[in-house]
């Protein structure tokens, strides 16, 4: 089965707003480029040839549809039916590639000759470098110097795929600053360059474009659930939320259903050391309204509107804002947002590996960690879908460091610092 995307959602409105959120808060130089991009995206998604080409690439290069499999031992332990949407089995190991192949196809359609991207942990950078390589376009990836150090493996992967990785030394030297630098590159080279944003953030039309390309996750889930359970809607859907692209991908097809049909949608934010400590990335749970990277959203900033550094054990959630569509869902009550801290995520990471034989990404582990709490709220046998957004191979070094699992296999017998 190959799913044909529908691209049919009520938001954003014509001004790029999801309720109060979204919009375009960017330098004037980019406004014409954003207009051009919005028009090109509108045109592409109305073109059956584009949808067919995208579906073909998703099947042949990404490996879609991804499986919907039951987590049988977890189900048994919790008294639920826990379904896993296996985005970890996609080429490059996460949901990120659904979006990058879509955007690179759009770039080609627009005649752009150069691809740029930002990346945090490197997953989006790898997915963008992969899509650029598939279509023969040069690619530059901006990555905070701190993340370059922490995620050396992904830096090498990107370089092997032909991308240039530019370390960013400003600000906190992480994803937020890499995004600033990618925007600066785009402002400078806007006429020939396509900026592939990796999450449902940025100025309009980016939150919409990324949502449209990730919604295949939720649309496939509906079809697969129908096959497996006879109903297209489960009792709850759970996904981790940093910027929020994997969560939007699985939520959006459910979020706009009539209230009586809509399942509980639960976005799990990274509570880091705990939301009371300030060292977290829970923008909806503990942040406030503001503007970051071109859009109105929930974010973390001080009383002067200076953006606060985020913290999470998982680099992919380590972002001080959250997409405008999630901000809207939160206000409108279409989805719930909760926090899971570093310790609970690490515990779930280990238990899930042993219980299911799947090493999940640390990001995804936040969603898995919330299942215990959710089991206390749902009737026995309730169907719960977790977006298994990525695989955990990239997190092995972090696991060695934090869990001290690798001391005896390190050169010299010492754990890396």
């Amino acid at each position: 089965m190959t799913h044909a995307p529908t691209f049919d959602f009520p938001y954003p409105d014509a001004r790029g707003r999801f309720g109060a959120y979204g919009g375009r808060y960017v330098p004037e130089t980019l406004i014409p480029a954003l207009d051009e991009l919005a028009a090109a995206h509108d045109d592409a998604i109305r073109d059956p040839a584009f949808a067919a080409h995208l579906a073909e690439v998703l099947r042949d290069a990404v490996g879609r549809p991804s499986l919907l499999s039951e987590a049988t031992r977890t189900s048994e332990r919790l008294g639920l039916r826990v379904w896993l949407k296996r985005e970890d089995l996609n080429h490059t190991g996460a949901h990120k590639i659904n979006n990058t192949v879509g955007q690179v196809l759009l770039a080609r359609r627009m005649g752009k000759t150069r691809i740029i991207a930002e990346t945090g942990a490197g997953q989006h950078g790898v997915a963008t470098a992969t899509a650029a390589a598939m279509f023969g376009l040069p690619c530059v990836v901006y990555m905070g110097e701190e993340d370059v150090r922490r995620q050396a493996l992904n830096v090498v992967r990107m370089r092997l795929l032909g991308a240039e990785v530019v370390p960013v030394t400003s600000g906190t030297r992480t994803l937020k600053d890499a995004t600033n630098e990618a925007i600066r590159d785009w402002v400078t080279n806007v006429r020939d360059t396509f900026y592939v944003i990796g999450s449902v953030v940025g100025p309009h039309p980016y939150p919409r474009i990324v949502r449209d390309f990730q919604a295949v996750v939720g649309e496939e889930t509906m079809a697969q659930l129908t096959e497996r359970t006879g109903r297209d809607v489960p009792d709850a859907v759970v996904a981790c939320v940093g910027g929020g692209s994997n969560a939007i991908g699985i939520f959006a097809p459910f979020a706009y259903l009539p209230a009586e049909r809509r399942p509980r949608l639960i976005g799990v934010e990274a509570a880091g050391h705990g939301v009371g400590t300030g060292a977290h990335a829970a923008s909806i749970t503990a942040g406030k309204r503001g503007v970051l990277h071109g859009a109105m959203m929930y974010l973390m900033s001080d009383d002067d509107g200076q953006i606060s550094p985020a913290h999470s054990v998982s680099a992919g959630l380590d972002y001080p804002g959250v997409g405008p569509e999630h901000s809207y869902y939160a206000d409108a009550g279409l989805a719930e947002y909760v926090g899971v801290d570093d310790g609970a995520a690490l515990a779930a990471f280990q238990r899930f590996a042993r219980e299911e034989g799947i090493l999940p990404a640390l990001e995804t582990s936040h969603a898995l960690a919330y299942l215990d709490e959710l089991a206390t709220q749902l009737p026995a046998g309730a169907d719960v879908v977790v977006n298994l957004s990525g695989r955990g191979d990239k997190d092995v070094n972090e696991a060695m460091r934090v869990l001290n699992l690798g001391a005896d296999v390190q050169p010299g017998g010492e754990a890396p610092s």
């Binding site: 919009g23 004037e28 406004i31 600066r184």
Partner: protein, 266 residues
Amino acid sequence: MSGRIEAAFAAAKAEDRAAFVPYLTAGYPDRAGFLEAVRTLTPYADLIEVGLPYSDPLGDGPTIQRSSEAALAGGVRTADVLDMIRDLRAETDVPLLVMTYYNPIFCYAGGGEAGFVRDVAAAGADGLILPDLPPEEAGSLIEAARAADLATTFLLAPTSTDARIAAVTDACRGFVYAVSVTGVTGAREALPADVPALVRRIQAASDLPVAVGFGVSGAATARPVAAAADGVVVGSALVRTLGEGGDLAALAAEIAGACRRTPVAG
């Protein structure tokens, strides 16, 4: 409005000069050093742009990024910037323009957008320069600024269409800011040849003075801009000179000299 902005551009025009508009980051290198630098520039300046340091200045190149980081690391808060503007207003009548990204306005602890506009005007500033706020997103800010007698300057770029030029100039009060290059702030050796054409397109749509910024680094880059535009904005070159302990007065004199369209006799 205070009328200082209009008077400053009119005075420069009467002397066949482009107005010289230096930019400095408030609180850089520190509060006293910033105020001293403004005093050094004032004899040469027609208007002065005061940058409110921000954590994520995505329209700025490395020089202004670093100065903003240093000011914030030194503990500069929005309230301190308002204090510095009050101090300067007590000393000079030169128009003071606050350049700020939108989030510090939106999140301002003293009452958000409306409170920010009120307090900036009360401190003695004459206008706001808004590098990441297109007029479409600025409805309520414009309304508050009009009520507080504060000018609003939005930016135009080489990529702006004629329709955008009409809409953006319509939302501007005081003057219009034309960005010389597709890019971020930062001193450059040369500017694109199409700067005069952009200025003419803007002047055809609006009677407001047009100041050009981004990339002007000295007399050589200032001269062609001054020939075409009503004002020349210089930021990174001055901030860099200040940071390096260089001769700020000499650079200001050089650029102010290049803003004169007819050389002074003798």
